[in-house]
C-alpha cells in the first residue's frame, strides 16, 4: 500500500529528462493524485463517522428495530425468497439484444464513409436481430404469465 502510494505520489521529472514527444509533457499518471486523495477521503470518512457514532451512542436492540426494512410495512415471509425463473429469461433476452447494439456505435461514427453499403449491411444485421426478436416474441418469451 505504501509502495503504491509512493509510486503514485512521486513528483514529475524535471525538464531535461528523456525528451518527451510533442504535446504530452507530463505522462497522464500524475492525473491520479486527486484520485488517490479522493480514495483516502472515501476510506476515512465512513471510518470516522462510524467510529464516532459507536463511541457516543447508546445501543438498544428491539424487535422492530432489527426487522428488515420494507418501505415501512411489516415484512411478509422470508427475504431470501426464490426468484421466478422468468427473471432469468427476461435478463437473458435483454443481455443478448442489448449487447448487439455495441456494433451500431462504430458504424455510426463512420457511417458517411461506409456510404450506402454500410447502411445496407447494418440493415441486414438489424433484420437478423428482428427475426430473433420476432421468434422470441411469438414463442411467448416476453409474456410474464
Amino acid at each position: 500500500m505504501t509502495v503504491l502510494l509512493a509510486l503514485l505520489l512521486q513528483t514529475p521529472p524535471r525538464a531535461g529528462g528523456p525528451p518527451s514527444p510533442g504535446p504530452v509533457a507530463t505522462p497522464p499518471i500524475y492525473g491520479y493524485i486527486p484520485i488517490v486523495i479522493f480514495f483516502l477521503i472515501a476510506v476515512l470518512l465512513p471510518v470516522v463517522l462510524l467510529g464516532v457514532s459507536r463511541l457516543v451512542q447508546r445501543q438498544v436492540f428491539e424487535r422492530e428495530k432489527l426487522m428488515p426494512y420494507e418501505c415501512g410495512v411489516d415484512p411478509i415471509g422470508d427475504a431470501r425468497d426464490r426468484f421466478s425463473v422468468r427473471f432469468y429469461i427476461v435478463a437473458m433476452l435483454f443481455l443478448v439484444f442489448d449487447v448487439e447494439t455495441i456494433f451500431l456505435f462504430p458504424w455510426a461514427v463512420i457511417y458517411d464513409r461506409l456510404a450506402v453499403f454500410g447502411l445496407v449491411e447494418m440493415l441486414l444485421f438489424i433484420g437478423i436481430l428482428v427475426v430473433g426478436y420476432y421468434y422470441a416474441w411469438q414463442k411467448g418469451a416476453l409474456e410474464w404469465a
Partner: protein, 559 residues
C-alpha cells in the same frame, strides 16, 4: 474512393453467397417454426434441406466460375478467402448437414420433439463452419467458431426434459467455453507478438519474432520471446484440441456424445470435428508455418533451439490414437463407443498436419471428407434402431439385426469396415494417404508414428467387428421389427453408395482434395532440412493469397 469501396463490397457479398443463402433459410426456419401448426413442423426440415441444396449449388457456381480458374480471392479486407481449401471443406459441411437433416426427421418425430428451431440451429452452425473454413483472420475465425459452438451447445441440450441431454449440454458448454477462453488468450498473445490478427501478416512476421535474437525495444538483456511465442502456440493448440476432442482434452466427448440426441451426436462428430480441423489447418498451416519445425537457437550465445508444433501434435496424436482405441474396447453403449472411436479418428487426422507434405495435406482433407460420410452412416443405422420404447444405443440392441433388416445390416457393415479402413471402402483411401504422407517424410520418428497408427487401426477392427458379430451371429433379443423411414433410407443409401464409390473410384475426389491441399498459403515442409535449417532472414510479406508464396520443398535445393 466510394465507388471503389462499393464495388469491392458488392463483390465480397458475391463470395459469401452460399453462407448468405443459408442465413436466409435459417431465419426462415425460425419464422416458419412459430407460424406452422404443431403437426406440420416437418415442413421446416424440407425447407432447410432446400436451403442446403441451394447453398451447395451456389458454392458449385462459385467454384467453377472463380476458384477453379486461377488464384484465390480475398474479400472483406482480407478476412475471408475463397480458395479450393475453403470450397472442399464447405462442401463437406453441406453434405454433412444435408445427411444430418435427413437422419433427424423421423428421429425427432419418435422423440416428440419436432420443432423448427432444431433445423434453424443446424443451419446456423453450418454457417459458422463454412466461415471457419474460409476465414484467414483470427477475428473472423473466432466469431465463426463461436457461432458454430453456441448453436451446437443448444442442440446437444435439445431434449430439455431429458436429464442426460441436459447434462451432456452442460459439460460440453462449460468445457467448450473454457477452451474458447484458452484459445482466445493464445490469440491475444499472438496479436501482441506480431501486431496483427491477419494470418498472412502473422506468418510474415513470424520469421522475425521466432528468431532467437528478437529484441523489439533494444533492451540490453533481451528476454527470449520465443518462449512466449511457443506458449501462445500451445494455448491455441489446446483450444483446438478441445474442439476436435484430442486426448488430453477429450473428456467431454464421451459424455456429450452419449447424452446428446443421436442425430446431433452424428452431426457433432462430423461437422464440428471437420470444421475445427479446417480452422486448425488455417491457424497452423497459414498462420504459424514457421513454428512447425524447431525454432533455431543461437549456439554462439548459448540460446537453445526449441521444438515447434510438429512435436506437440505428434505426441498428442499418438496418445489420442492409442487412448481412443483402447477406450473404445470396453464400451457397451454404442454412442459412447463411437465417441471413443471418433477421438481416435481425430488422432489419425492430425497425422496429415504433422506430415507437412502434399500427400499429408491431401490425406487430411480427404479423410475428413470420407469420415463425414461414413460416420454419419453409422449413426444413421443407430438412429434406425430407435423405436417406440427402445433407445437403441446399447450393443445388445444390434443383436440379430441381420434377420430383421438385412439391408440395414449390410449398410452398417460397409460403414463399419470403412471406419476400420478395410480396402474396398473409402476409409482405406483416407488412411492410405495419411500414412503415406508420414512415411514419405522419411523421418524415423514419423515412420514410427505411422507404424503405431497402423497397429492401432488393427486394434480398432476388434471393436468394429464386435458390432458385426452382434448383428450377424448373436440371436435376436428384441422381437420388435426395425423399419426405415424414407428420409433415413435415402440418407443411408446415399452414404453407403458414396463410401463404396469413393473406395473403388477415388480419383475424382483425390483430384479435388489435391487442389485443396495445394492451395497457396498451405506451406509444405521437409523434415530433412528441418532439423538443421538455418534461421532464415525475414521474407517479404507475401502478397496475400497470390501464387508464388514460399514453398519450402521446392525452394531448397534437392540433395
Amino acid at each position: 474512393m466510394q465507388t471503389d469501396f462499393q464495388t469491392i463490397a458488392t463483390q465480397a457479398m458475391q463470395f459469401i453467397m452460399p453462407e448468405g443463402i443459408l442465413t436466409l433459410f435459417a431465419c426462415a426456419a425460425l419464422v416458419l417454426d412459430v407460424m406452422l401448426p404443431r403437426d406440420r413442423k416437418r415442413f421446416v426440415a424440407w425447407v432447410s434441406l432446400l436451403g442446403v441444396g441451394l447453398a451447395f449449388a451456389s458454392l458449385w457456381i462459385l467454384y467453377t466460375s472463380i476458384v477453379s480458374k486461377g488464384t484465390p480471392r480475398t474479400a472483406f479486407f482480407d478476412m475471408i478467402v475463397l480458395d479450393s481449401y475453403a470450397v472442399v471443406f464447405k462442401s463437406i459441411f453441406l453434405i454433412g448437414a444435408a445427411l444430418s437433416i435427413l437422419l433427424s426427421i423421423k428421429y425427432l418425430e419418435i422423440e416428440g420433439e419436432q420443432r423448427g428451431e432444431y433445423y434453424g440451429l443446424i443451419l446456423f452452425s453450418v454457417i459458422g463452419m463454412m466461415f471457419m473454413a474460409s476465414s484467414v483472420d483470427l477475428l473472423a475465425l473466432f466469431i465463426s467458431l463461436e457461432l458454430m459452438a453456441v448453436s451446437v451447445y443448444i442442440l446437444v441440450g435439445y431434449f430439455r426434459r431429458d436429464k442426460k441431454s441436459n447434462e451432456a449440454s452442460m459439460k460440453y458448454f462449460l468445457l467448450g467455453a473454457f477452451s474458447s477462453g484458452v484459445l482466445l488468450y493464445g490469440i491475444s498473445m499472438v496479436y501482441g507478438l506480431t501486431g496483427s490478427t491477419n494470418l498472412a501478416k502473422i506468418a510474415a512476421a513470424l520469421p522475425i519474432v521466432a528468431s532467437a535474437n528478437f529484441n523489439p525495444f533494444g533492451a540490453a538483456a533481451p528476454p527470449d520471446m520465443r518462449y512466449l511465442l511457443l506458449m501462445s502456440m500451445i494455448l491455441m493448440a489446446a483450444g483446438m484440441f478441445f474442439k476436435v476432442a484430442a486426448v488430453p482434452f477429450h473428456m467431454w466427448a464421451p459424455d456429450a456424445y452419449e447424452g446428446a440426441p443421436t442425430s446431433i451426436t452424428a452431426f457433432m462428430s462430423v461437422g464440428v470435428k471437420a470444421a475445427s480441423f479446417a480452422m486448425f489447418g488455417r491457424l497452423f498451416l497459414y498462420g504459424l508455418p514457421d513454428l512447425r519445425g524447431s525454432l533455431a537457437g543461437d549456439p554462439a550465445s548459448g540460446i537453445p533451439s526449441l521444438p515447434g508444433w510438429a512435436l506437440l501434435l505428434g505426441i498428442v496424436s499418438a496418445i489420442t490414437i492409442v487412448w481412443g482405441n483402447l477406450g473404445a474396447l470396453t464400451q457397451n453403449n454404442t454412442k459412447r463407443l463411437l465417441a471413443y472411436s471418433s477421438i481416435s479418428h481425430a488422432g489419425y487426422v492430425l497425422l496429415g498436419l504433422i506430415a507437412g507434405n502434399q500427400t499429408g495435406y491431401t490425406g487430411f482433407v480427404i479423410y475428413l471428407f470420407i469420415y463425414t460420410i461414413m460416420n454419419l452412416g453409422v449413426f444413421g443405422c443407430i438412429i434406425a434402431l430407435r423405436r417406440r420404447g427402445i433407445v437403441g444405443d446399447r450393443m445388445e440392441d444390434l443383436n440379430g439385426l441381420m434377420k430383421k433388416a438385412p439391408g440395414l445390416t449390410v449398410m452398417m457393415t460397409i460403414f463399419l469396415l470403412s471406419l476400420g479402413g478395410i480396402p474396398p471402402t473409402a476409409g482405406f483411401i483416407g488412411k492410405f494417404y495419411l500414412f503415406a504422407g508420414l512415411i514419405e517424410t522419411g523421418n524415423p520418428w514419423l515412420v514410427r508414428l505411422a507404424i503405431l497408427a497402423v497397429l492401432m487401426s488393427v486394434v480398432s477392427l476388434y471393436y468394429y467387428i464386435r458390432f458385426i458379430r452382434a448383428m450377424y451371429i448373436e440371436g435376436e433379443t428384441e422381437p420388435q421389427p426395425v423399419t426405415l423411414a424414407p428420409s433415413l433410407r435415402v440418407a443411408l443409401v446415399a452414404a453407403a453408395i458414396l463410401v463404396i464409390y469413393i473406395g473403388v473410384f477415388p480419383q475424382r475426389l483425390i483430384d479435388l482434395t489435391q487442389k485443396a491441399a495445394t492451395s497457396p498459403g498451405l506451406k509444405t515442409y521437409s523434415y530433412q532440412q528441418g532439423a538443421t535449417k538455418p534461421a532464415e532472414p525475414a521474407t517479404p510479406p507475401p502478397a496475400r493469397g497470390m501464387p508464388g508464396e514460399r514453398d519450402r520443398q521446392t525452394a531448397t535445393p534437392p540433395r
